[in-house]
């Protein structure tokens, strides 16, 4: 393991979300994403790895070497971590080449120049060596920040929301470039983001954080298809939760029966998670479900369908399937796996959060 966090907790301080019992690990060359809403502790976790925050309990290992524990805080400069900040933090008084060379003081001048040239070529900034940061576009600034962090051949590269300052149409290309670069240089990386699309596109494994705890640490596919908690289910994509009852080894809901894969006892009240791509609709006069709204999204139509009970499900249809609002439709559920959660005792948790007891059902 290049990077390992064992049950790391951070004391709460003003302005810094606390984290509790965070355990993570990354193999060499792996790209890890810390995903979660703002204030969930993902940036704090990154800063713990960098050595900017001390830990209250637990340990952090870099290349098998203990670097953080309650009694030990190896200073950042001795950790060999590369850091790319959200706003890049390029030194405004230094030129591009000087920024990239900043961490290469231990090399001779010749070695340093060679390394800088290699990095500049690698991130595609040839010709801009003499520019100052303010003379670069956002994308170019990000490349310089990357080159600066990678120049010292870090043990692990830490990226704090690296795409949030870029134009949306720029982001896609930069994501691809960054992914290629990390694969090419076999760099182990930890990337913080609040955007699940970004995490899915970049990560080998994702840790979803909420309120300072890891809710799930798994591959992007597993996170999406078999979320461990309702929070994860909701955070990584559109999800509807339909209540049901376990009867005769099946989960009975108003939109049909599902296998009781999580092995709940008979009589248990549960909810079934449904994603829009699991639901297909077809107009059918006698049906009581009706289309409430349609959102055209270019590549798809997203339908909101109202059920007689008042619950809604969403359905993703092809771009050309256009039905007017109010159309009665039949629902077809085409799920290869069913995700079930136990229904809470009280109707719903307070403050709009989903308060379910996590329980996982596998296909």
């Amino acid at each position: 393991m290049v990077l390992e966090l064992r049950k790391v907790s951070c004391a709460y301080e003003k302005g810094r979300p606390a984290i509790a019992d965070v355990s993570l690990s990354a193999r060499e060359g792996e790209i890890l994403c810390l995903l979660g809403p703002s204030g969930c502790g993902k940036t704090t976790t990154l800063r713990v790895i960098a050595g900017f925050e001390p830990v209250a309990t637990g340990e952090v290992y870099l290349e098998g070497r203990l670097v953080s524990s309650p009694d030990l805080l190896t200073p950042t400069e001795a950790r060999r971590v590369g850091m790319v900040f959200q706003e890049y933090a390029l030194f405004p008084h230094l030129r591009v080449a000087e920024n990239i060379a900043f961490g290469l003081r231990h090399l001779t001048a010749d070695q340093r120049d060679a390394q800088v040239q290699t990095m500049i070529a690698m991130v595609g900034l040839t010709g801009l060596e003499r520019r100052f940061p303010h003379e670069l576009s956002g994308g170019q600034q990000q490349r310089v920040a990357l080159a600066r962090a990678l120049a010292q051949k870090p043990v692990v590269l830490l990226l704090d929301e690296p795409f949030s300052n870029l134009d949306p149409d720029m982001t896609g290309r930069m994501r691809e470039d960054l992914h290629n670069l990390l694969m090419h240089t076999k760099t182990t990386a930890v990337l913080v983001t609040h955007d699940h699309d970004e995490a899915f596109a970049m990560a080998d494994r994702i840790a979803v954080l909420n309120n300072g705890r890891v809710e799930q640490f798994d591959t992007p596919e597993a996170i999406y298809h078999t979320p461990a908690t309702p929070f994860v289910a909701d955070f990584v994509g559109q999800a509807d939760f339909i209540p049901g009852l376990v009867q005769n080894g099946k989960v009975v809901t108003e939109i049909g029966e599902f296998p009781n894969q999580a092995g709940f006892q008979g009589g248990t009240k549960v909810v079934v998670m449904i994603r829009p791509d699991d639901v297909h609709i077809a107009p059918q006069e006698q049906c009581s479900a009706r289309i409430l709204a349609r959102q055209f999204r270019g590549s798809e139509n997203l339908y909101t369908v109202g059920l007689p009970s008042g619950h809604v499900v969403h359905s993703s249809e092809t771009s050309t399937s256009v039905y007017p609002v109010g159309t009665p439709v039949e629902l077809q559920i085409i799920a290869t796996h069913t995700v079930l959660f136990e229904q809470p005792e009280s109707p719903r948790g307070s403050g709009g959060t989903l308060a379910f007891t996590p329980r996982r059902g596998h296909a």
């Binding site: 302005g15 850091m83 405004p92 830490l158």
Partner: protein, 528 residues
């Protein structure tokens, strides 16, 4: 800026502001004109006798004070922003107090402290033997010490603000690149603070080259002192104007430098997520060391002088040696300063209003002209008015009118800086909204415009008033015969080394300057 229905430029206001700008710009032009049309022999005589010495003295003093204020200002700013120790917030405020001390007051206290047989010499002889010498206050070292202690807060304030706004990511990323703490400070933090530090140092230098009070009491020959001597001792106004022109150029360079670096520093503060920098705690010993250092600096620059002034005032009162005309001096000071402040605010309003509401080349030029006072050190402005009035309006010469004119030229810029932002927050939209709600022009003025600008205008008035209270060189040169102010009395008594007699007036000036200082600082404080 959004501009809806354009009203025509009000003619009467324009004329008033044009006249004001002309009147304020005139003295500067006059000095330049006199110097440039002076007989070449005057130039060559001065070049062969005075100028090299004055350039050297003024230049080295500026350099020495820059070095001193740089060391003090930056180290103090770093201590209060990056370390945690008992009473930190109190120290943070207290370190600006030396700005309340007019240079001539500090100079006169140090004349006593460092003088022959003074306390510093006694202590030094007790430590180093009976023949040991301390440097004289009437020297380069003395002048540098006094000016450094008086002006380091400029550097301290600007550096502190920059450090508080500092994007900590720069330091963190530098450490991730393997730089040690010392490395980070030298290679990243200091270079990024450079604009703020240079802006502070430019202010310091501007202050030093235009200071008259300290250098005259310490008898250290700089341009301001030389101009004063030409005007009073030799009655040579041409030579005075030549020296003045050089002085104005000197000041202009540093004023422009300050402006330029201030803008750059705005540009350097790149956006970023703001994170409070972690403060280090030095333990009991560290805290003691820090407190000792801060105490030494603040004691030397403010604490000790104030204690001495109080002591002298008390003993002067006890011995009954306080000048019986003392109340008269206070009245003179208040009368002059009050009139000048009121006139400055009245004249400044159309200037600032027109420039913000009808920005055109002409209105902005008028506003810029009003800032001329910044590069007209006291003696130079006084010289210009002397010539102007003795030629154009000799019957007014020697009245307090001339003096008030001098004050306005000198302190209107500081007032305008406070009035301009106040006026700018009254956008045309606000007034139009009031009109759409049924208010008349006058009603709008009373219920919308005035309440919005009142705070800024009162602040401007107070600032100008208190600056006038401590003004020295123009008052010395232009006051009507027998019309002494507090500042003039301090200087006159202190020149004769009557320390006790000077103390009550000096103490009063310091106490009265404090509110203005708090006003100034609290503005900067919020911005930081």
């Amino acid at each position: 800026m959004y501009q809806a229905i354009r009203q025509p430029l009000p003619i009467s206001l324009s004329l008033v502001s044009l006249a004001t700008a002309a009147a304020i710009g005139l003295p500067l032009l006059l000095v330049c004109f006199m110097a440039l049309t002076a007989d070449p022999s005057v130039w060559s005589r001065l070049w062969n006798t005075r100028i090299p010495e004055l350039l050297w003295n003024t230049g080295t003093l500026a350099l020495g004070v820059s070095l001193g204020t740089f060391l003090l200002g930056v180290s103090l700013a770093r201590l209060v922003t990056r370390y945690e120790f008992p009473g930190r917030t109190v120290w943070e405020w207290a370190l600006v107090l030396p700005l309340a001390m007019p240079t001539y007051v500090l100079a006169y206290v140090y004349t006593y402290l460092l003088g022959t047989g003074g306390p510093v010499e006694s202590i030094w002889r007790w430590v180093a033997g009976p023949e040991a010498q301390v440097f004289s206050p009437h020297s380069f070292a003395g002048a540098t010490l006094v000016m450094t202690l008086d002006t380091f807060p400029f550097v301290y304030l600007l550096t502190r603000a920059a450090l508080l706004n500092f994007n900590v990511s720069y330091e963190e990323v530098a450490r991730a690149c393997g730089a040690s703490r010392a490395d980070v400070w030298l290679r990243v933090t200091l270079p990024l603070l450079r604009p703020a530090i240079v802006a502070g140092l430019s202010l310091v230098i501007l202050y030093v080259v235009s200071d008259f009070g300290a250098v005259s009491l310490l008898r250290y020959q700089t341009f301001t002192y030389a101009v004063y001597q030409q005007v009073t001792g030799r009655y040579d106004q041409t030579a005075g104007s030549v020296l003045s022109l050089l002085l104005v150029l000197f000041a202009l360079i540093f004023l422009l430098a300050e402006r330029w670096f201030r803008q750059r520093s705005r540009f350097y503060q790149t956006t970023g997520r703001y994170r409070v920098p972690a403060r280090k705690t030095g333990g009991a010993f560290g805290s003691l060391l820090i407190t000792g250092y801060l105490g030494l600096v603040l004691g030397a620059s403010f604490g000790l002088p104030v204690v001495l002034l109080v002591q002298w005032t008390v003993s002067a009162a006890a011995e009954g040696t306080v000048d019986p005309r003392f109340v008269g001096f206070i009245w003179n000071s208040i009368l002059l300063s009050g009139l000048a402040a009121s006139a400055a605010v009245l004249l400044g309003t159309p200037l600032a209003y027109l420039a913000s509401r009808w920005p055109s080349k002409l209105t902005i030029l008028c506003l810029q002209a009003a800032y001329a006072g910044y590069v007209l050190p006291g003696p130079v402005g006084a010289l210009a008015l002397l010539v102007l009035f003795s030629h154009l309006a000799p019957f007014w010469y020697g009245t307090i009118l001339v003096l008030i004119f001098a004050y306005i030229i000198h302190f209107l810029p500081a007032g305008l800086q406070t009035m301009e932002p106040a006026l700018q927050q009254v956008t045309p939209n606000l007034e139009e909204a009031a009109r759409s709600l049924g208010l008349t022009t006058l009603g709008t003025l009373r219920r919308v415009t005035l309440p919005l600008v009142r705070g800024g205008f009162v602040a401007a008035w107070v600032l100008i008033f208190l600056q006038c209270m401590k003004e020295l060189p123009a008052t010395l040169l232009l006051r009507p015969v027998g019309f002494d102010t507090l500042a003039v009395r301090v200087w006159l008594e202190a020149s004769e080394e009557y320390f006790q007699l000077a103390a009550p007036a000096a103490l009063l000036i310091v106490i009265m300057t404090l509110p203005a200082l708090l006003l100034l600082v609290s503005k900067d404080w919020r911005a930081a």
